[in-house]
Symmetry: C2
Subunit: 108 residues, 2 copies
Amino acid sequence: MLDHRDRLDRIFQALADGTRRDMVERLVSGPASVSELAGSHSMTLQAVMQHLKVLEACGLVRTEKVGRVRTCAVQPDGLRLAEAWLSGRRTGWENRLDRLGELLEPDS
Amino acid sequence: MLDHRDRLDRIFQALADGTRRDMVERLVSGPASVSELAGSHSMTLQAVMQHLKVLEACGLVRTEKVGRVRTCAVQPDGLRLAEAWLSGRRTGWENRLDRLGELLEPDS
DNA sequence: CCCATACTCAAGCAATCACTTGACTGTTGG
DNA sequence: CCAACAGTCAAGTGATTGCTTGAGTATGGG
């Protein structure tokens, strides 16, 4: 199974590519087929499929094939997971700054 | 210079590695030297330095050398940038769900 | 002055990445 | 039925990653 750490690895890795970010950007505004996703990018359909596979493997996107068309949609919990990690670090940082502030100005 | 898109690429790429996430995790609780950062990880100092270089290149971490010790600290705007992208997508998704909800239940 | 400390530079290596080309499979409108 | 359409499998390639080993270069306490 995919533990939390490994999942974060894959999610951030997936988001580290502009093409893939474009794809999730497109998908937040509604589902799309593979060809639709490929349309906006100047690369082969196969390349787009490979990006899609990365997005699906880390759970950022869910896809389902009906007939001959595969429909893709965002699965938002992946985004939330990454966001949670970041906001956790940020608040850690802010708390530390607060403690420093109290040290410098103990009468607050 | 590093445009916004490229910066995001690098930041997410940097965060896509557990070792590097551990390093920023350590650094949010306060500055540390390279050796201190290396201490907790079972890899060579050189490897840690290379991770540090990645973190510095994307602006997640700032370092400064005084005497023979290089001190590292988090630079929080990088974290904020990544968090902003994620929350932007998430709210995009949520707004879409809201619109769908209104369609299904127009009297709300 | 000298040796341990704290990095730093460079090269090399196996694995992974982001593509490509080419050949194929299943689906569907006419 | 059959052609165009939507997607898939496989293999190859050049670049990048995450390490390693080995050999430096400053600094600074005693």
